[in-house]
Symmetry: C2
Subunit: 472 residues, 2 copies
Amino acid sequence: MTGAPVGNPDPAVDRALAAAESARRPARRASAGERAHWLRAVADRLDASSDPLVALAQEESHLPEARLRGELARTTFQLRLFAERLDDGTLLDDRVDVADPEWGMGPRPDLRRAHVPIGPVLVFAASNFPFAFSVAGGDTASALAVGCPVVVKAHPGHPRLSRATATVVVEALAAAGAPDGLFGTIEGTEAGVLAVQDPRVKAVGFTGSLEGGRALYDLASRRPDPIPFYGELGSTNPVVVTRDGWETRADDVVEGFTASFTLGSGQFCTQPGVVLVPDAVGFAARLEIPAVGPMLTTRIADGFAASLDAVAGRDGVEVAARGTDGAGVPAATVLRTTAERVLADPTIVTTEVFGPASVLVEYASLDDVRDVLGLFGGVLTATVQGGETPDADALEVLDQLSEHAGRVIWNQWPTGVVVSDAQQHGGPWPATTAPTTTSVGTAAAARFARPVAFQNVPPAGLPEAVRDGGRR
Amino acid sequence: MTGAPVGNPDPAVDRALAAAESARRPARRASAGERAHWLRAVADRLDASSDPLVALAQEESHLPEARLRGELARTTFQLRLFAERLDDGTLLDDRVDVADPEWGMGPRPDLRRAHVPIGPVLVFAASNFPFAFSVAGGDTASALAVGCPVVVKAHPGHPRLSRATATVVVEALAAAGAPDGLFGTIEGTEAGVLAVQDPRVKAVGFTGSLEGGRALYDLASRRPDPIPFYGELGSTNPVVVTRDGWETRADDVVEGFTASFTLGSGQFCTQPGVVLVPDAVGFAARLEIPAVGPMLTTRIADGFAASLDAVAGRDGVEVAARGTDGAGVPAATVLRTTAERVLADPTIVTTEVFGPASVLVEYASLDDVRDVLGLFGGVLTATVQGGETPDADALEVLDQLSEHAGRVIWNQWPTGVVVSDAQQHGGPWPATTAPTTTSVGTAAAARFARPVAFQNVPPAGLPEAVRDGGRR
């Protein structure tokens, strides 16, 4: 009875999930072309509504207009890229094995592996990307692309923008002829908690904190029928400046770092939070810390202050440089310590300080670097700043970082996650709950699509994608 | 400190995991060509040892020699197929996006998505395939193919065969130059429980019962650092005989069913356990139930008897036909009931009876079929037996079955799971714990490979697979 509708104690959650459930079959039956049309319709209507949406986003998030316009452009680009991959048939890994009586382990029947939607998807929106990781963001695009109804648990940091965006999405989908109930939203922490446990929900996408994500992951895993929980939980994103990098590119490195760690007031899950450097005093001396903008919410501002104080208060950690603060605006801060201290107290580098702060860790040797990196669990990104080309040290560090990170970067900075086919935004725990998946890029769609092998099924019974003469 | 070695309270588990941990980096650094060489070396040595291995397997599993020889051939074929896909570069979904200043959302850096091994993998072997889903089976092949060390928790149903197979694997890997410690085994339920919780284990493959799988899944999910748990837990595998199928192919259908439900004494997770038929009395009258062989273990024989009694004892369930039994050999049994009874008491069709038994469910209408199928959660396979080509009823049933099953079959039988690229062996809960993955076929390797995007990394720092002029 796993799939049978049941009620939910919260009437608003129940309505949203009943609607999603009613859209489940019609959405599954929609062709790839129809789904591409839905995505483009949402993108077009978001673009057409950009002025009022960006104005609302500015008001609620305190982020600058240019950033928000860029983020909305990213969001509509993302929807259209998924549509394009539906059109060219490369969004999912469909496979055809025609019958082969000579197959090496005995006759092979005709087998065609296509994908069906996993079912209604619950998406927890993030605070820090009010467009790209919120109501019409990457998780929503991924789920709609493969034919899953979506219920978004809106982030309380931008409630009016969430409602306005939801209206745009619902109207666009209706105008595009998508099934009724395909998209809805719910609000409130308790509603989210109840929705994760509802048997109609078949998968969860989450972007947010380690604590919140872990609590919801636990609920999803403890259901009588556990479901996949794709949680992106944040990261401290180490950067290693090699000796060669420091000797040949110090000014570049410090400048690039400064721009990256303060971008968006440091409110990125890819923000470079820990920088291993051969000369922390020299690094600090070169720093010119800019003023940053206000934080997204009071809660995030308070969390930043508390976690920064916690790290700054550890033995052997000093303030290396601070920007100016103002009314409601934090001072961007760079701390400084040594590899020796970190090895004695790993929390200095494993505590995520969400906001404009980073820790410089001075190392004396490549062994120090190895040992400090060994303290990290999973991280979303890891960066090496080296010389013009990687020397032996840089190659070793790049190699070690690939054990921890979802994305490994050479001589660029981790903030900014391009939406493309080869993108990977993920990593081992505690960066995510699902290390083999990505939440950004076209490969993200596979999280919500379930492979089904059709054996000996005539064309009339096959999904379009795996018919002879079909898309592939 | 997620990745840091720690001890395990069980010394044998600790030794096995210390060895796996010591092989982790060397295995990660092995090229695709080297890994293909390991797999072929294991296959070759298994083939060379087939006589003593099959003899041991016969003794411990009570399965017939021909079946065991076929299963060993399947096992070595599987290892070689993974090697072939490593050679041709198609085993994993690596992707290259070269830098593109004109990319629609702003300049795109050079991004190359390759895969790294997830880390040491713990494999729980199954009882019912002493070769293909045991020590050197599909999970082991998948993990070794992508460079993960493997520790197999051997199944107690064939302990001597497990040890002999492990010796073959270890010797073959050593001779092939694979890293020391790449492969090991542990024994005992408690050892498995301790190993799942060990921080050195980064993913689990499991084939077995719903109860055992759920308990281990819970342990994996409740770790301080939760890890992916790929559990294949079994299924009741519904078959729908359409009216057209019954009118035009009744003898074929009954004959095919009889062979399928008794194959291997019914000890397959794909065994057709529930058959929806328009005429159960007519179906039963045609049945000629063959004698079957002894069960794999006393425990499985006892479980079969108990679960068969439980289903046979439900109101409105009768015995339709029984084969002969003998010393240590169960009687293959077909039960009979109606859709009406099943709708009142769904446990009749959702209880897995592991062994040679199935339930015929007589339906009066297509609505009955729809409603009975709606009672199922996830299943590994679902089959339609129709006429020569699918009529409207058959198409509707095929469509509905794709919501529940990992494999949907037309006019063939579910037992027998070919290893190929398009195979999918999985399904929603309770068939598996990981509905977007497969445990059979080359796509199974992706379960143990973690994507990493390399951004702006020069060739010397890139994995071979995504270098320019590399394999793809």
